[in-house]
Symmetry: C2
Subunit: 155 residues, 2 copies
Amino acid sequence: MKVEYINPFIQAAQSVISMLCSVQPKIGKVHLRNMPFSADQVIIIIGVVGKIKGQVCFEMSENTAKKIASIMMGGIPVDKLDEMSKSAVAEMGNMIMGNTSTIFANQKVNIDITPPSLLTGEKIEVSNKTTTIVVPLELDGVGNISINIAAEETN
Amino acid sequence: MKVEYINPFIQAAQSVISMLCSVQPKIGKVHLRNMPFSADQVIIIIGVVGKIKGQVCFEMSENTAKKIASIMMGGIPVDKLDEMSKSAVAEMGNMIMGNTSTIFANQKVNIDITPPSLLTGEKIEVSNKTTTIVVPLELDGVGNISINIAAEETN
């Protein structure tokens, strides 16, 4: 996948997260990941089709997910990831991907996204069909989120 | 989602599985699933967009996945789910969904699918944005596979 296709994901994550969490995420070193990769406990998966085709996994610890859920729900404390708080966390992934689509559309690159699925578990390992590009995000006071982009350009 | 949208998934699963595994899968009772649902150890996730939008999870035990991998790889024994055998199992999901798309296309219902992602882990729980419809499949001598369809019709 072209490197310039990574930028819309980064821009969207920065803009959505800084709006929602009032914190500007620090972008770590974008890198490739070997398969299978061990994932953190909470994963939001959103599919992409169109000019780019694949799956995007947002990955974070349970603790980070709880903090994000709390922020998304107006600051109420979240001690446990129940369905409402999971839905709030999934919505953040949905908003980032929606924003990514808009940025791509402005560049005449059309993509369509699926609704988010959220998975929790232990010892999770993910295998994708294509190389996975990782964008690490560090949210001060919230935690780390990795965006794992396993997608390729279509003809 | 309309009930008639479930049939192409069932038809495709029957036709692909009977071709690959030389066994006609028994279709169990199609039912709705509450969220989050606890999933078995191996999950293949494939996104769907178009007239229907969502994620489809094929779910099975590690043992069943090993048997399917072995069948897909011409009968060589599979003791461990390595990347090659995972890729073979994911390909079965991909073929079923490809076949599902073709059946839908013949009915003038256009959908597009993402490549498969395969996840393994323990105590996996899945939350979807929409109601999840489950199609249980029983493959004699191989094991059980559940097709979890979390999708809705778009306008």
